[in-house]
Symmetry: C2
Subunit: 256 residues, 2 copies
Amino acid sequence: MTTPITQHIVRSLTDGDLPRVWSLLVTVFGDLAQEKGRKISGVALGHMAEAIGLKPEAVRVAMHRLRKDGWIESHKEGRERHHCLTDWGLAQCVHASPRIYGTPAQNARVWLHVYERGSAPATGHDIVLNTTSRLSADPGDPAGAFVTEINPDTALPDWMRNKVCPADVVQTARIFANRLTDCAAFLKDHPDLGPLDVAVLRILIVHGWRRIVLKTPDLPDYVFPKDWDGPTCRARVAALLAQYPRVDTQMIAKPT
Amino acid sequence: MTTPITQHIVRSLTDGDLPRVWSLLVTVFGDLAQEKGRKISGVALGHMAEAIGLKPEAVRVAMHRLRKDGWIESHKEGRERHHCLTDWGLAQCVHASPRIYGTPAQNARVWLHVYERGSAPATGHDIVLNTTSRLSADPGDPAGAFVTEINPDTALPDWMRNKVCPADVVQTARIFANRLTDCAAFLKDHPDLGPLDVAVLRILIVHGWRRIVLKTPDLPDYVFPKDWDGPTCRARVAALLAQYPRVDTQMIAKPT
């Protein structure tokens, strides 16, 4: 079922960097089956995996581990095998979804906390700046710490921005932003995608973005490094996912 | 020449705590002779020192040291000895005057600087909060440090306020504020002061306030500890000094 179009989509979004199978399969179920009882057939999964370039044996091993780790349940119906997220796996995907699919809340805010001496352990998305100061999405306790809100107009030194997002994630985002541009340009000239094309496109977009955004704190973009392409990635991801809505994976299982 | 009124003024403003002679004499010249060529006769100085309760021998020793340190010049004119500030001594007094006599500028501002690691040595009135942060009257360099202005509405933790002004200075200010109130109440009932009374009154007011204000950084009152009575002292000092202008010390030298 893999067409030259599928191949081009895969190449434009991965440039040959094959994603980790286990992690990619979480993306597959998280994007295409994030709904109680929504299942993906073994046949459809096999087509998608093959299109992306994953070896059947690697998929088999990863699925085994996903079942063992409690992410996936598999059932046989007649001669066909079906897979779906467990309740726990579903809860994990639902938890991560706002960050992957959402735009940052308009009212996302961030505060600087300065303590006299070494402070309590950082929690949640706190960014530890040094032993006595941190950035936090939490307004904190002004009795214990000096607290000041950081707004989009606040000048921030580079060392502070660089703590918010490590250089390798900034670089990954830059590469991914370019891949999304290349892919969008290709799609403009190839408007007619089959169900497998769309599924693969969504999976690789969501997977690429998920691996970036979940490595960053849930803080406003304006505290990120100046060369952070996160907002560009997020906008392009949102545009492409809106343009190519989820497909019913049963369409992939059927011969065209 | 010392009258019960002088004695009461001295008691209300010192409560028996005799100031260091050397330092008090700097105040005497700073308040009464802060003008090029303005001199104070040995006789007038003796009357003032006696009224305050200083021993003539202690005054003689302190004047000797003030001459040696370059603050004071002494000249004989006929049978009288006169003293005045040297150019250097005058410059010192002129430098300190805005803080002693002035109200804090309406536009006094203060910034928090947060550095990634141990920062450059503090300068001027910077208050070192810990190894990576400080308060400064200088807006600093936002490329090197995170800088945020602290305004009157900013909530500040007590540990930060306490760094701005040590507890003993806060306590001295509280005591001095009370002494000023007592003294003002007494003066209300005793409106007719002689030149020596006024000179002694001014000297002890300026000296008491100078010993407080010059131990504090030149930062807005709103970053000081909550129980800081500096603004109260400053207002009472200003009111009394305005009510009792400088006297010509020649009036003190003459017998009444």
